[in-house]
Symmetry: C2
Subunit: 220 residues, 2 copies
């Protein structure tokens, strides 16, 4: 990695980008995200941190306009689902088994060129952690990780000047059915349409509603 | 906001920062985050998106070294809790009531200078959404939002050249007790120590373990 690529941004720049972002209500349907920018956003999903690095997720990018139209009624008719340049469905892995842990450990050993036996203790910690959860607990745990990826995706988009809208208002079971997620072992956790704000979206200029510093942060 | 402050970053810069970050195992205990950088990180928490913008969270910053020492045994003795420059406990709001929705709506109306009646429909949507969850469901919902804030915080830190380590491995009930969170109406959801990596941390140079593009992304 070259020195130049590690030129970090300033606190002012960070805040300018985070204040610039808002949950877009109306996307410009004619503006598409350029391939190099989209590639970086996909990579921001792949590079997201997760519990133990287990990545209990998969990201479905719905480009097919007919399928996006089918999803509209299952999204309380929120037009972002059809108007945004890209629609990401962040999906949680339905079941995480001991075999998944073994696979993860073997990938880690291979990539880092260390004997898998050296990672046995780490694998056991993960198995114990997962073993304390029932099937619903595992789904909630996986869903939480999707929310980290959502946070990283939205923040990354803001720094690239790409708009986004996190969406919990949709019917997961209908998404699962329409996209065939269940048989693939996943379920829709949260949505993130991405693209560019329409100049006519009044929400772009509304001040952000945030509680006071004193209400949100306490120093101990 | 000046034009200059809205100079977005390039896809290459984004990826360089995201690849630079890793879950720090060993912080340099002597390096502290400068006040202007820390202020931006606190603001990144406050500016985090959340479900309906409801912000069902509070962020506790534990600076007191004695209290951080007390937290060590409740953190499986992971030294990041004491060595990092700053320790953030992202805490979920234990209960979100209709009164909270009314308060949020009144804040929105005041800030945006619109009559509260105009937001009644929006308030009802939120109340209906929350009303479909039981007490545990509300806690899980609030915890998910904390994970968005965690994602935004970690990604923001990476762009500023600040190191972090997301931590789920701790005992929430012991944290709640030590920090007096329960009586304040919160519970520890997830931790994020922040600071600077120690040059001797071998994990900094380990390659990231991420599954393949094909396994993580599916285009429909």
């Amino acid at each position: 990695m070259s020195e130049q690529s590690l030129e970090f941004i300033s606190p002012d720049q960070l805040l300018a980008h985070l204040k610039w972002r808002y949950a877009v209500k109306k996307f410009d349907p004619d503006r598409k995200i350029a391939p190099d920018v989209w590639n970086a956003l996909e990579q921001s999903l792949i590079l997201s941190p997760s519990s133990f690095g287990m990545q209990p997720w998969k990201f479905f990018v719905v480009n097919n306009p007919e399928i996006r139209q089918q999803l509209l009624p299952f999204s309380f008719k929120q037009a972002q689902v059809i108007d945004a340049s890209h629609l990401v469905v962040l999906a949680l892995k339905l079941n995480t088994t001991e075999a998944d842990v073994d696979y993860y450990i073997s990938c880690t050993a291979e990539l880092r060129q260390i004997p898998a036996e050296k990672l046995e203790g780490f694998g056991k910690v993960i198995k114990d952690f997962l073993g304390r959860m029932d099937a619903d607990g595992l789904k909630i745990w996986a869903k939480m990780q999707c929310y980290i990826a959502l946070g990283q995706l939205m923040t990354s988009a803001a720094h690239l000047g790409v708009d986004a809208c996190p969406m919990e208002g949709f019917l997961p079971s209908k998404y699962d059915e329409t996209l065939g997620l269940t048989e693939k072992g996943y379920s829709a956790a949260v949505l993130c349409p991405l693209g560019y704000r329409d100049p006519s979206d009044p929400y772009a200029s509304y001040p952000k509603v945030r509680y006071s510093y004193e209400d949100m942060i306490e120093v101990i």
